[in-house]
Each structure stands twice: as C-alpha cells, then as structure tokens.
Symmetry: D2
Amino acid sequence: MEAQAQALAEAVSQAMYERDVAVRALGISVVEARPGRASASMRVRADMLNGHAICHGGLIFTLADTAFAYACNSYNKSTVAAAASIDFLRPARLGDALTAVATERVRSKRSGIYDVAVHNQHGEAVALFRGRSHELASAVLETVTP
Amino acid sequence: MEAQAQALAEAVSQAMYERDVAVRALGISVVEARPGRASASMRVRADMLNGHAICHGGLIFTLADTAFAYACNSYNKSTVAAAASIDFLRPARLGDALTAVATERVRSKRSGIYDVAVHNQHGEAVALFRGRSHELASAVLETVTP
Amino acid sequence: MEAQAQALAEAVSQAMYERDVAVRALGISVVEARPGRASASMRVRADMLNGHAICHGGLIFTLADTAFAYACNSYNKSTVAAAASIDFLRPARLGDALTAVATERVRSKRSGIYDVAVHNQHGEAVALFRGRSHELASAVLETVTP
Amino acid sequence: MEAQAQALAEAVSQAMYERDVAVRALGISVVEARPGRASASMRVRADMLNGHAICHGGLIFTLADTAFAYACNSYNKSTVAAAASIDFLRPARLGDALTAVATERVRSKRSGIYDVAVHNQHGEAVALFRGRSHELASAVLETVTP
C-alpha cells in the first residue's frame, strides 16, 4: 500500500518534471517526491539577481512553490495553488544552494495546506512558505493503472 | 515637490532596472514608476510553463513582486520584501500579456504595505498580491542630490 | 435590479445580525450592508485589553472578519471564511472607536477575495485584512422570494 | 540555564495573564508557557456563535493569537504581532473544547515566525495560524533579576 503510494508519487513527479519547462529552465531539481511531501533544490545563478544584487524574492518563492506543487500532486490528482504566503528571513546570494522541503499539514476533500521551508547550504532558514492547494477533477497521469 | 519626487522615482527605477538581471532575464518591463506606485508587464513564454502547461505560479508571483519592489524603492531608500501573500484567481497561458500594478496602502517609519493586482490582456484578474516591505539603512542611488 | 440587490443585502444583514450572538456580545454594529460591501464598528472596551494594555489583536481581527462576513454573505448565499490575513499597523486603545470597511475585490463561482481596512476615530489605519471566502450550498434567508 | 529560561517563561506568562482582561473575559486558559512555545484553550460558549450558528472565526483567531502572544513574549521582551494569517479548516461548534499550540519557527534580532495549530476535543484540526512577531524595546516584567 505504502510502496504503491510511493511508486505513484515518483511516477507523477517524473511525468510532471518532463513537462515542467519553467522549473527546468531555472535549473531546479526535484530531489524527493513522496506522498504529500517533496523537496526541490536550486542554485542561485547570476541571472537570478535583482537590483540589490541578491536573489529575486520571486525566484525563492518559485522554488518553494515548486516543492509545494510536487507534494500536492503526489496523489495523481491534478492540483494547483489557490493561494500562498511567504516570509523572507535572509537574503540568498550568488552561488547559494537552496533547498525547499514541502510537508503536508492537512488535506481534505479538495484542498490542502502545505508548509515549505527554504534553507541555504549552511542550513540557515531563507524563507518560510505556506500554500493552499485546490484539487481539479483530472489526473496528472491519465493512464495510471489504479 | 511632486515633480522632484517623480523624477527621483524614475531615476531610482532606471538604476535598479539596469542592475536587475533577474527581471530582464524574464523579459519583464517596468512600465511605470511613481512615488509609491509601479507597474510591470511580462509576456508568458514557453519556458515559463509548468507541468500543467500553464504559467508557473512562481513567475506570476515574481512579476507581482517586481512591481512591489519598484513601488517601495521609489523614495530612494533601499527596501526589501519582508513577507508577501498571493491569491491565484485564474491561470495564465502561453502568450498571455500580464500586467502588475502595485499601489501603496500604508507606509510608516521602516515598513509599508503594498497591494498588487495582476491582470491579463483581456482585463481579467489573474492574481492579487499583498507585500510587506522593510526599509534598510542605505539608499538605492547613493549619489542623488537631495 | 440594483435596488433589489440592495434590499436583499439589507435583509440578509438584518437576519444574520439577529442570530449573531458573538458580534452583539462584542458591541459590534453593522453600520452598512451593500452587495459585496459592508462596514462594522466597535468601541474598545476595558474587557478587550490584553497584557500590554492595548486592544487584543484577535478582537481587531474579529471586527474586520465581521465586516468581511457581512460583505460576502450579502448575495444571500451562505458564505464562510476559508482563510484570512491581517497586518497590524498601530495599536488600538481603551475607548477607541474602530471602523472596518470591507470591499469585494473579486468574486467567482464559489470563492471571493475581500479587503478590509480598519481605522480609528482619527482616521488612522489600525489594520489591513484580506479574506478569502468560500460559498456553501445553502442560503442565509431560506424564504426569500427571488 | 534551561531551568532559568523556563522559570522566566512562566513568570512572564503569569504576569501577562493577570493583566490580560480580554483573554480572561473569553474564558481562555494559558495551559503551557515555555521559551518560544505556549498552549491556550477555550470552550466555545453560546456568546461566541455567529449568524451561521458556528464559532465566530475571529474568536478562533483570537485563541490562536493568544497562544502566539504567550510564546513570543516568553523571553521577557515585550513583543507584539506585526501580521498573521489563518486557514480555517473545519467549523467549531457550541461546547467544543479548542486547544491552540504555538511553536516558534524562527526568531532573529527583532522578529520571529510562530506557527499555531488549533484542534478540537476530537483531535481534528480546526485552523492553522502563522504569526510574525515584532519585538519592542521594553520588557514584560520590568523588575526581573537577570
């Protein structure tokens, strides 16, 4: 049962990642996909710096939002973000290796709450993100054998 | 007085934009910069689509966050985002022309609240964003004549 | 048409207020009810002060949430809060007369976004609130003639 | 060291509670106070019900905000809420016994992030709250021997 859920989470993650041009263009890797949980990592590139010479907050959000997306789609129900909030705790700089870990807090009928923590390579917290998911009627993998 | 504030907002915006590699890499234009207010636009490119074939929510956030950044830095005090929240109302698709308009709601000593609305080319609301700013001690343009 | 919508908003507001024990216990008045818009006011009483001798932030939230509730129920569809966020800008003190004005930003099928601003008797902003509504299947007034 | 921090947290909590008229008027108990952590409980009374005959969301927020306040003041630095967000997951009904547990996620110079989960007597999640704290210059207990 658990093994099946885990296999499904991995299959969904791989299929999503292949289609996920935005995430690949940003060099984001999805390093873990489990039922209700996912991790993603990103290195801060020169083309991610804003006018203050730190990583654009939008791209830190994008990393967190990606971990959130892979966590909430892990059951093979197409799921999108309805809302999200982020607290920025510390700037990220050129070359920093950021990791976002998304954890499911609650999941009910059609919606869920996921917490994402973003840390840098020193283990320092860079941002805390909370997302509210909304499940659509379709599946991510249409041809999955149940 | 107002003309001076407007000239300062424009000078800050230009200087920030020149350094703002992330925003230029995403093809974002800053189309208006006024004291406490800014607009930015972005066309949804193929490399912005996620695994559901719609614009990655993180990049819609990035557009809104950019308008917010230019609005809250317009007084030539270096200002960063402390926190932000976003509600996603409607997906954005390949080729959509998105515009984010940031408006100051309050600004006090070292912090402020800015609302950003993102619309598509049909005038439909795509996202609502609210950001909390935090002012640093430095200036954006160090050499401005007061 | 507009007159009908306004009459419905007022009828819903009155019916809700009669049943709304919590709001009456806090001395909150609903001073305006229009389609998608409502205002509520509250005087800060001695039994609303927290350990810092200022109005408990939860009660400022409650005032804002009340204006939100009357605004989003104004169409006679039972509607509850799915989520809300608040920024506290200035403390409220004993005797302060607070007013919360809720405005609809967007409303679609089953959800909406409402902004609420809370001001004191000097017109100073005390808090900004944003709520996400969720429409239930029932009506507030079951016996309304359409 | 830890024992001292724990004793301080308890002394602060007791002193705050004695002055905290709002919390006592709502029948809220502070059932645990530790450095960076606090729990509070509240029974839903008849005078807490709104027009839908469920507990007013503002009072669920108030309970969560109270746990947050006792957690972030536990170091004897006067600390207030700068902002908070809440997701409502399930209604609370007359007689429900609600418990809010606040946990510190990060704390730096003058601000911190605290997560609060509110559950009912069946262990079901009623709301998730996240608060951003702002430290003032004063102490809660002015006469503490360091």
